[in-house]
């Protein structure tokens, strides 16, 4: 085991990473109202008949 390589990822750093490197793969940008701070290209907001609690 080499702890130099210890690594983790979550949605937040995935977005940061993709903004720099993969954004062209994700179609058009769309703001996500459910998560107002997320305007990254891989966030797709799914609408449905019910309301969302915040």
């Amino acid at each position: 085991m080499n702890f130099k390589n210890a690594n983790l990822i979550n949605g937040k750093n995935l977005k940061e990473k993709n903004l720099k490197t993969k954004e062209e793969n994700y179609g058009e940008e769309k703001n996500c109202l459910c998560q107002s701070n997320l305007t990254y290209k891989q966030e797709i907001y799914t609408d449905c008949a019910c309301s969302h609690s915040e």
Binding site: M1, N2, A6, C34, Q35, S36, I44, C48, E54
Partner: protein, 461 residues
């Protein structure tokens, strides 16, 4: 600041699960979402027991990697702390975050009672009534004004019915009107049309694209499985027509998603439908059927069957997850977006406006008005919904949910359904066992997406 003598602790209710060579860690109290650890991080995380200090963990790490440096260990523990999967001294997450006032208002704009379909489970009693254009304009202005007064920053208008596309011309004019108003009042606005998809011709799709309108299209299965429940008044199935509508939306590059209502009639087709939608790169949401007064037949299925076929569908997504986050729509009313206290926005940030200007608590209670668009403040009217027709209680008031690990993502389920089936609002959802069985499966899908697109490394020995 982490020092050698600092002791890391795990948050209560933290969920962990092995996903291939990685560890999925999910703290349901955190807004940071799901975190995936690679093998080395997993090793260190496993040593967190609220007793060992970082230095002691470093000593353990040295046994398997003699060259390890204390700063490397410190760095990964800082990352754990930032991801809110461990804490030092005292938890950083404040429960008061759950009490923040919503900034986004959702408006169900029930523009028409008319519909070209007669779906077997529909909760709308179809008539020829529809919203008068002047009333619609007045309502939009009133809602924007009252939302502004009450501190909302954004409004999502959902044009619904009936079939919203039947009123497309009026909707387009209303959107223009609302956008102009929104600009003047500094209110961010967003719009979506809820549609059965049948009337989405190439021309309609082009218009929707030009106007930057989103669409949520209902589709309940492939071919006969859709046609068992989504039919024209003649009884003819709608699948072929909806499929053409979807093609038109795809070609016009409209932002849309599919909403699926799962009943006992279509549940076995959900895996095939999932493959169909993934292949076309169409986002989708699964909702469970909820009984209503206009449906006489029994449509709720067996829980075991529901779990079985959804697990099959989830496995298909797991094997090939899309690059975008999909999990929030995969399990009915369960949302992983961030911890919350209420299943839905009823009484908090959700207005349902009928075609006649009356306000009702939920779109499934169209015959239970609590006020009208002429009320002094429609936000106050909305808050009246914790009345006799519907109580949307905080999960903290639902006694069977208080100790549940998933209480802040499920919130006890739809209150209307719970009341109709169990006779009380302080109880848990009739789907509780289904949710509990499937939440770990849904979390695995997000972990797999992070692994696939996140570039997290698996390192050779």
């Amino acid at each position: 600041m982490i020092a050698w003598q600092s002791t890391p602790f795990l948050y209560t209710d933290t969920f962990t699960q092995k996903v291939e060579d990685y560890l999925l860690v999910y703290n349901p109290l955190s807004e940071k979402g799901i975190t995936v650890l690679n093998k080395e991080a997993y090793f260190l995380f496993n040593l967190v027991d609220g007793k060992q200090t970082v230095w002691q963990i470093f000593e353990e790490a040295k046994k398997v990697d003699p060259n390890v440096d204390f700063n490397q260990i410190k760095k990964i523990f800082l990352d754990f702390e930032e991801a809110e999967i461990v804490y030092f001294d005292k938890p950083k997450i404040k429960k008061t975050n759950l009490l923040k006032k919503p900034k986004k208002l959702e408006v169900w704009f029930h523009i028409t009672n008319q519909c070209n379909l007669r779906c077997t489970y529909c909760y709308v009693w179809k008539t020829t009534e529809k919203m008068n254009f002047e009333l619609a304009k007045k309502s939009i202005k009133k809602i924007i004004d009252d939302a502004k007064k009450n501190g909302f920053k954004k409004i999502l208008f959902k044009f619904a019915g009936g079939e919203s596309i039947l009123e497309l011309k009026n909707i387009l004019n209303l959107v223009d009107f609302a956008r102009e108003l929104g600009k003047n009042k500094e209110m961010e606005l967003d719009f979506v049309l809820l549609s059965n998809g049948v009337l989405i011709s190439k021309k309609v799709a082009k218009i929707l694209k030009e106007k930057d309108l989103r669409v949520a299209v209902s589709l309940d299965g492939l071919e006969k499985y859709n046609d068992l429940q989504r039919v024209f008044p003649s009884g003819l199935g709608s699948f072929k027509f909806v499929e053409q509508g979807i093609e038109n939306l795809l070609k016009a590059k409209v932002h849309f998603n599919i909403t699926v209502t799962i009943t006992k009639k279509n549940v076995e087709n959900i895996p095939e439908l999932t493959s169909y939608l993934l292949k076309r790169n169409i986002p989708f949401a699964f909702n469970f059927y909820r009984e209503n007064p206009y449906v006489s037949e029994e449509l709720e299925g067996d829980d075991k069957k529901l779990v079985f076929f959804l697990k099959k569908a989830y496995q298909i997504i797991y094997n090939n997850p899309p690059p975008y986050r999909i999990i929030d729509g995969l399990l009915d009313r369960v949302s992983f977006r961030k911890p919350h206290l209420y299943t839905c926005g009823v009484g908090q940030n959700y207005i349902v406006l009928k075609h006649d200007g009356k306000i009702v608590p939920c779109q499934m209670l169209l015959d239970k008005p609590i006020g009208s668009i002429d009320d002094k403040d429609v936000i106050n009217t909305m808050k009246k919904t914790n009345s006799k027709s519907l109580k949307n209680l905080s999960v903290s008031k639902k006694s069977p949910c208080r100790q549940c690990q998933w209480r802040y993502i499920c919130c006890g389920g739809c209150p209307l359904l719970t009341f109709s089936q169990k006779g009380g609002y302080t109880l848990n959802s009739p789907y509780c066992a289904v949710y509990k069985a499937l939440i770990p499966e849904v979390l695995k899908i997000e972990a797999k997406r992070l692994i696939k697109y996140g570039g997290i490394t698996v390192n050779p020995q």
